[in-house]
Symmetry: C2
């Protein structure tokens, strides 16, 4: 990992954790909060473009995103790259390296990030003593699976235009959920190369597809800021089904 050192003073002690304020998450029981405080071993500042986890390697730490954007990806030996999903505040990184021997994908920062760090050995203790938290971990993993499934449908069966519309909506929904897109305009910190690799398209074709959406006045993409001018049109193109139900962690 090529990133800066763990700070000595925590920006966010667990009591003031910015993640728990988000309404997507359930509140902690007091004893869970106590445990999480012992679970957290520090905070990590990561630079934009830094590699946080690498496919095929193991990691002694687990991370929760506190601030910033990242993306998960896999590569073929000849350099072709596929983005699997994006990570935003509240997302969990490195679970696979804890459950298996190694990561099955890599993770790279899109912006400067602040990560909450947990040592992987304590994961087992979490399962043993805090079933509610274990349930959260499982929930997070399963949500990830859900998103990958949606992506698979998109890349396997949607046309370039439909796929692009779907991805933009998806990014918008996720950004909204963590308060990073108050309106229909937001700034996903992505280049068209990132979009292309997420969509399974070439960069040229991605550009042409974005232009088609711009020409139809459905989106506007200028200076790294994406504006969705016509959500409904985008949804229609993407065959978007409003089943965001179930994205919020239930209290059992």
């Amino acid at each position: 990992m090529n990133n800066s050192a763990v700070g000595s003073a925590l920006k966010y002690p667990c009591e003031r954790c910015p993640i728990r304020k988000l309404k997507v998450f359930r509140p902690f029981a007091p004893e869970e909060l106590e445990f999480v405080k012992t679970f957290k071993s520090g905070e990590l500042n990561v630079e934009s473009r830094a590699t946080i986890l690498t496919e095929g390697t193991s990691s002694t730490h687990l991370f929760t995103v506190l601030e910033g954007w990242a993306f998960r990806y896999k590569m073929l030996p000849d350099g072709r790259r596929q983005l699997l999903n994006f990570a935003l505040p509240g997302d969990f990184l490195g679970l696979q390296a804890s459950l298996f021997k190694e990561m099955s994908h890599s993770v790279e920062a899109l912006t400067p990030m602040l990560l909450c760090v947990f040592p992987r050995e304590r994961l087992w203790k979490l399962f043993e003593q805090y079933p509610g938290l274990a349930f959260d971990v499982t929930w997070l993993g399963s949500r990830e699976e859900q998103i990958l499934g949606e992506n698979l449908l998109s890349i396997g069966r949607r046309t370039a235009l439909e796929r692009t519309a779907f991805l933009l909506l998806h990014l918008h929904e996720r950004a909204k959920a963590v308060g990073l897109a108050p309106a229909d305009s937001f700034s996903p910190p992505l280049t068209q190369q990132h979009l292309a690799d997420a969509l399974g398209l070439s960069i040229v074709h991605t550009n042409k597809t974005l232009k088609r959406l711009s020409d139809r006045k459905i989106i506007r993409w200028k200076n790294r800021e994406l504006e969705i001018l016509d959500v409904e049109a985008l949804r229609e193109i993407a065959w978007w089904e409003d089943d965001e139900a179930g994205r919020v962690r239930p209290l059992i």
Copy 2:
């Protein structure tokens, strides 16, 4: 669900569960075995082609595959279908409907199947009282995520030929792992339409691609039996990386 009733006499009481014999799984502790016996509410026989779970619906049950093959899939409103993954003995079905409000994909049987049935309410008790089993559930979910990630890379970035080679190897590995492919020859119960929908290709192009592999004497596909004549060639085409490490559930 259009399938036959739960049998009164169990074919496999937990002590003789066929799944646990497979070396991919860890042995149970005696008290875990006791609990699992109370967790299991019966067995379900499912006909070939039956729908086991439906996207967008909730399910009061969770299933473990004891015998047979199934596939998970998603569909677009206009009928385009994408297979996400296959389910073989040992796989868990319906977790999402337990964690979220509803299933995010459907599941259909490819052969007659025997399923082990659990009521979803008991899942929480499992997390509370049997962290080892909770860990297993998380592990299973995470492995699913891993496979979806591999598929996403395949469909997004591999060519039709590479993709097909990869899928055939994947199926072979999975069948071997549960003893359904003793040699390099096995019988995945699939039509070319299933393959096409798993690969994100048209059925015509799938056929042409299979023929290319047959012409090169790398595979043989006749009478529903697939024979892999040249594993090495297939691996080379698929850019297969031998990282099956970590597929076996560790004992922590």
